[in-house]
């Protein structure tokens, strides 16, 4: 059987190819939007995977440390280490901030980790260059996406840090690359004020008779000292011993330490279903709008192409061509257009995904789903043209 649609496409290939390219770029944007969402989910999962933790211990009744602020004392890790089933526990701090470097601003997530503790949860699990942090101060390990190089010196708040190691795929759930620095420095960076603010705070404390009572000069010094130190961290990351389940270890920590503990599954739910849920809905809205726009474009193009062939279709009907043959021809053309569009879109999305500032993950399964969606949209979009073609009166081929 001759393929009328195929012959028409071959005959007016320029029209189909250029239309397909236009449609393809739209499909490329759609696939990229899906890739952005997948990238966000993957970033979140990578962050959890790379933390090496089985449990996250955070301030009670908070969704910390990533989705909400969380603050717990930095000595809690010791008592957690003594709980049954706990193999390792480590304090961590997280602080997202802007760092100026080499004339540009880099947004990073500063992670405070215990120095010289390889294998502890929270440490960067693999390096692609350099070494881990071994000194208690002023060393840093950076994700390559920061653009920092080994030996670079970067400033975080008032202190300068030398980049001694580079790691990869260590990003926050928002896609910001991580910069690991020693825990004490990170604690200071979170709460340390500038000199003027410290002087004003001291004066304010000294003026307060409750904090500086007459006859007790040592009290104001003690209060000032407590104001300029930070004994808090955002979370304690816990690795559990073999043979224990996460829930089994989490339960006593919740009960006895009066803290909130999240397992890996719960933390993933927080990140994916809560933290990036709004972004996901936003992207979902874009996908819906792009699908509708694609459908409208295909419908308009196929309808216009069909209306341009009224006489030919009338002749085909007059000489006895079945309605289903004509319908199939239009459907095939719509699907052909969708196929060209999808191939162009897939190539475009693959080509431009690495240029995006945030991670764009193009999954094969999304491509398959996208392909099916494009074909379904094209098939639906062709209905208008098919309806118009079937309403063409074969008598139109006969003059008068």
């Amino acid at each position: 059987m001759i393929s009328l649609a195929g012959r028409d496409i071959l005959h007016s290939w320029g029209k189909f190819v250029f239309t397909g390219i236009g449609l393809g770029l739209l499909i490329g944007v759609t696939l990229t939007m899906a890739g952005v969402y997948r990238g966000m989910v993957d970033d979140a999962q990578a962050m959890l995977d790379n933390s090496g933790a089985d449990l996250w211990v955070v301030q009670r009744n908070t969704l910390g440390p990533y989705a909400e602020p969380s603050s717990i004392n930095d000595d809690v890790d010791r008592s957690i280490r003594a709980m049954p089933g706990v193999a390792r526990a480590a304090n961590v701090t997280y602080l997202t901030m802007q760092i100026g470097h080499a004339g540009r601003d880099v947004r990073v997530m500063v992670v405070g980790i215990k120095a010289a503790s390889p294998g502890e949860p929270g440490q960067p699990p693999h390096l692609i260059a350099g070494r881990q942090i071994v000194r208690a101060h002023y060393e840093a390990v950076a994700d390559v996406k920061t653009g920092f190089r080994l030996g670079d010196v970067v400033q975080v708040r008032r202190n300068r840090y030398k980049v001694v190691g580079l790691t990869s795929r260590m990003v926050s759930s928002g896609g910001d690359p991580m910069l690991f620095i020693p825990l004490k420095d990170a604690q200071q960076a979170q709460f340390l004020k500038d000199s003027d603010a410290i002087v004003r705070q001291r004066a304010r404390t000294a003026r307060n008779p409750a904090l500086n009572p007459p006859g007790n000069p040592g009290m104001v010094d003690a209060v000032t000292a407590s104001q300029t130190s930070n004994p808090y961290v955002n979370a304690v990351l816990v690795q559990i011993k073999e043979g224990f389940s996460p829930d089994q270890v989490a339960e006593p920590i919740r009960r006895w330490q009066r803290l909130t503990v999240y397992t890996r599954a719960e933390m993933e739910e927080i990140l994916v279903d809560k933290l990036i849920a709004t972004s996901a809905r936003q992207i979902g809205m874009f996908l819906v709008i792009l699908s509708i726009v694609s459908a409208a474009i295909v419908a308009f193009i196929i309808y216009t192409l069909t209306m341009g062939k009224i006489r030919e279709i009338a002749v085909l009907k007059l000489i006895g061509t079945r309605n289903r043959t004509i319908s199939f021809m239009i459907l095939q053309q719509a699907l052909g257009l969708g196929l060209i569009g999808f191939v162009v879109g897939k190539i475009a999305a693959t080509a431009w995904a690495p240029i995006f500032p945030k991670y764009v993950l193009l999954l094969s399964s999304d491509s398959v789903r996208g392909f099916i969606a494009v074909m379904v949209i094209c098939a639906i979009a062709s209905l208008l043209a098919i309806r118009a073609a079937l309403r063409i009166d074969p008598a139109e081929a006969i003059g008068g």
Partner: protein
């Protein structure tokens, strides 16, 4: 197929009551196998309606029509599949050739049998045979846009003949052609009618070709009047 196409007392009325338009008011016509007849008439006389009834595109209000020994309409009754009838038993030639622009000459001719389920190779072979008979085989691989008006019309004739229909309806087939080419097309139609024993009805306004018909039907106010024996077909 012994009897060509015959219509008896064919009536077609559009609308009802006071607004009814009586386009055909009892038309009788008979065209035998191998015969070419002309159908002429002024605008609004019912030519197009008659052609559409003959082509099984619209149904008459009453009357009888047969092609060969097959009854197509008999007052209220009609054959169930008019589309298949048009495909297998009636060929059409139009004022403009209306060739399918994205098919080459061979496939334009072979399209109908292909759609009817004949193998592509067999349909194309038959198409080339017809194109050879019509002296356009050398343009078999050309696209319609590359043909002259006369060549396009010959391809359209080949397309009409490809199913070997007992009846061909030609609607002003020479309108876009100059005198010489118009007469050449009429000669081809006469030759084909004789060769394939096809009954051909040519609707025309073309003064150049009217004298070539052995028999001529005038249609006026929805009624036909036969006239015959004018001159020999163009040679």
């Amino acid at each position: 197929m012994a009897d060509g196409i015959r219509i008896e007392n064919l009536v077609k009325t559009y609308g009802e009551g006071e607004t009814a338009v009586h386009a055909l008011q009892g038309v009788d016509m008979h065209v035998g196998p191998g015969e070419v007849v002309g159908l002429i008439g002024p605008s609004g006389s019912g030519k197009s309606t008659l052609l559409k009834c003959l082509g099984a595109v619209i149904e008459p209000t009453s009357g009888r029509m047969t092609i060969g020994e097959q009854t197509i309409y008999d007052n209220e009754w009609k054959i169930p599949d008019l589309r298949a009838l048009r495909r297998d038993r009636i060929g059409f030639i139009f004022q403009s050739p209306y060739l399918i622009p994205f098919l080459d000459v061979t496939d334009n001719v072979a399209l109908l049998p292909m759609l009817a389920g004949v193998t592509n190779a067999k349909a194309r072979a038959h198409a080339v045979e017809l194109l050879t008979a019509l002296d356009v085989a050398h343009r078999a691989k050309a696209m319609p846009s590359q043909l002259s008006g006369g060549e396009q019309q010959r391809v359209a004739i080949a397309r009409a003949l490809v199913s070997r229909p007992p009846v061909i309806l030609a609607d002003e087939p020479t309108a876009p052609l100059d005198g010489e080419r118009a007469l050449a097309v009429v000669k081809i139609l006469n030759d084909m009618a004789a060769r394939y024993q096809t009954a051909i009805i040519i609707v025309t306004h073309d003064e150049k070709i009217i004298p070539t018909f052995k028999r001529l039907y005038h249609i006026r106010d929805g009624r036909t009047h036969e006239e015959g024996g004018r001159v020999e077909p163009a040679s």
